[in-house]
Amino acid sequence: DEQFFPLQSYRVGPYAAGGTGFFGGFIDYLNLINIRDGGVNGVKVTWDEGETQYEVERGVEVYERLKSRPGTAAWNPLSVGIAYAMIDRITKDRVPLITINHGRTDSTDGRVFPYVFPLLLNPYSETSGMVNYLASREGGRDKLKGKKIVVLYHGSPYGKETIPIYKLLADKYGFSLEQIEVPHPGNEQQSQWLSIRRAKPDYVVLRGWGVMNPVALKTAQKVGFPADHIIGNVWSNSEEDVIPAGDAAKGYIAITTQASGAEYPVLQQVIKAVYGANKGNLDDKKRIGSVYHNLGIVNGILNVEAIRTAQAKFGKRTLTGDEVRWGFEHLQLDPARVEALGAKGLFHSINVTWDNHEGDGRVTFQQWDGSKWKVVSDWIAPDWAFLRPIIEKSSTAYAKEHGIKIRASGEDPVSQ
């Protein structure tokens, strides 16, 4: 028996660094499962890569090409655009779509999006986590009052997605807020940072992407803004974002759902079993344990554990997409289980349910010391209770627009 993962990877083009890291980590973990455990309960995991260059239509092409392969477990595109183009298709084909750390916020609502899983962190939770971190740095949420925060966002739909939620949080906590756009690709930010300098904010939140991140750090240095008051979001938190900035990045802080570093047991096993057998996916071994690589590893853990969960119910065999969905909807990894998986400290925990497809991931903050990331905070919980109604408002609107019936329970979404 085999369980198949079609991979819409991107190893070329502007986002190649992220793609090689993430898919490298994912494949490394799948390899580990096969080598170390002989598969998930004896079911081998297989995969096939299709290069997308991060382009939607190439992603769709790969989808159409690979979708009919038997035993497809789940899709993991790591691209908002591709994910969007797939929502209708995977819903029709009844295979889960995993958008770890990215994707539509409202797809958290499993009642409306039964097959979409923005695992660990959606953009709103990320925003809330950020603000909670700043509050903790200031010594409490009440201390945010009167503070000034600038959000510097990438001029794309991704960048703009959190504009309203930042506004809500600003109103709620009473900090003043300015949101400034950096046009794509973001290789010039002189005017934005001059405006920031004039605004004299306490913090700058960097909601960047690709080349925008190092340029932001460099330009911040040019206008004399301290790096340790710049907080990067989840797509501004990798080594690739800071290394090009050189010294300017020293002290920069970024959010993450998974710590970096190779000291975690699971990574050590990957190094030994996979790289030892010369089956490692990364060309450059120095990148083992980097942010994107670890995200790939965590993504691998979540996918494999979802299969394991589903196998417990449906039997140790090749599962259908719907059965894997069931597995994801019951994916409960508490800290103890995470530790058993050798990932204690790598990520905190997850508890996905049929209606909460994010699974309430916690975030932590890491600081760049010039050569590596160091965790500088506890695992912080976003304000889920505050966010849930907002998400539901959006998802029910979507359901109405598209004529989707809202699920009332975790049963098979189609048979209802």
């Binding site: 001029g155 002189q190 005017s191 001059l194 080349v211 340029v215 040019k222 290394i243």
Partner: protein, 296 residues
């Protein structure tokens, strides 16, 4: 009250970013001047040069040796391009050549990444991007250095084109390749030389931009910043490249800071194009561009 200090800061910041655009634009101008074609591979060459250099350095080559090696490679590239692309396409319409440079950019980009990988590299060229303050205005050392380099290049090329016969033959080749052949100009040499020089300019631009952006794929996108510079200054004017660069930089930043807020920001991407367009309607071949010679 209007904040003049800030205005000046924005203006200077804009002018200095503009110089960085000029660095890229010069490469375009050189090639346009000798073949009448917009070389879309300039961005790829920039990436290739910077990537080669940084990879050599990371593999332990001393700075100067890496620089020399990259220089040699860029010259070889220029000559190779002449052999394989330009020579067979002599006397073809500009759009055909334009397309060929697009194909070329595929080849160069692919080769660069294949050779050196897709990782993101930091690049330290020994000039820090830290600011110092002059009358309350922060100025970065790297910017100043870039300005000096751009100025130097422009002066060099301008003198070259004005006072040497090679300059004259460059212009002749761009005008009419068929006639150039007929009078015995050695097109292969002219093109080989120019592409090699464009390669060197790409290296200079690549290093300076790489120091700011990091050496990564996005480096090839800086060409988009150079295009409005070209139309504003004139495709075939070296001086235009620098004046255009300054103008574009200033326009962009002032527009973003003072006009942007009315649109919700982010207008930088097109502001320069729109201004350049408005300007072109008055002078259809840019500030310093050669006017179209056409009579019946």
């Amino acid at each position: 009250m209007f904040d003049y200090q800030f205005l000046i800061e924005v203006l200077i910041g804009g002018l200095l970013s503009g110089v960085m655009y000029s660095l890229v634009a010069i490469g375009f101008v050189l090639i346009y001047k000798t073949s009448g074609v917009l070389n879309f591979a300039q961005g790829a060459m920039l990436l290739f040069a910077a990537l080669t250099f940084v990879s050599l350095v990371e593999r332990g080559t001393p700075f100067v040796a890496a620089l020399a090696a990259t220089l040699a490679i860029m010259i070889a590239l220029g000559i190779a391009v002449e052999r394989t692309v330009l020579r067979p396409l002599v006397n073809q319409p500009p759009i055909t050549l334009f397309m060929a440079t697009l194909g070329l950019s595929y080849v160069i980009e692919g080769a660069a990444q294949l050779l050196w990988g897709t990782q993101v590299h930091g690049l330290d060229i020994g000039i820090s991007d830290t600011p110092f303050e002059v009358a309350g205005v922060l100025i970065s050392r790297l910017d100043l250095f870039a300005a000096a380099v751009a100025g130097g290049l422009v002066a060099l090329f301008a003198l070259f084109f004005r006072y040497t016969r090679t300059g004259l033959s460059f212009r002749a080749v761009a005008d009419d390749q068929f006639a150039a052949l007929a009078v015995g100009l050695r097109l292969p040499r002219v093109w080989g030389a120019v592409w090699a020089v464009a390669g060197i300019v790409a290296l200079v631009g690549g290093l300076l931009w790489g120091a700011r952006l990091g050496v990564q794929f996005s480096l090839s996108l800086v060409v988009l910043k150079a295009l409005p510079v070209l139309v504003l200054g004139g495709f075939d004017s070296i001086a235009g490249a620098i004046v255009g660069g300054l103008l574009v930089g200033a326009i962009e930043k002032l527009a973003e800071v003072y006009v942007g807020p009315f649109f919700g920001g982010g207008i930088e991407v097109w502001a320069a194009y729109v201004v350049a367009l408005g300007f072109l309607l008055i002078r259809p071949s840019g500030l310093f561009g050669q006017k179209l010679v056409e009579r019946v």
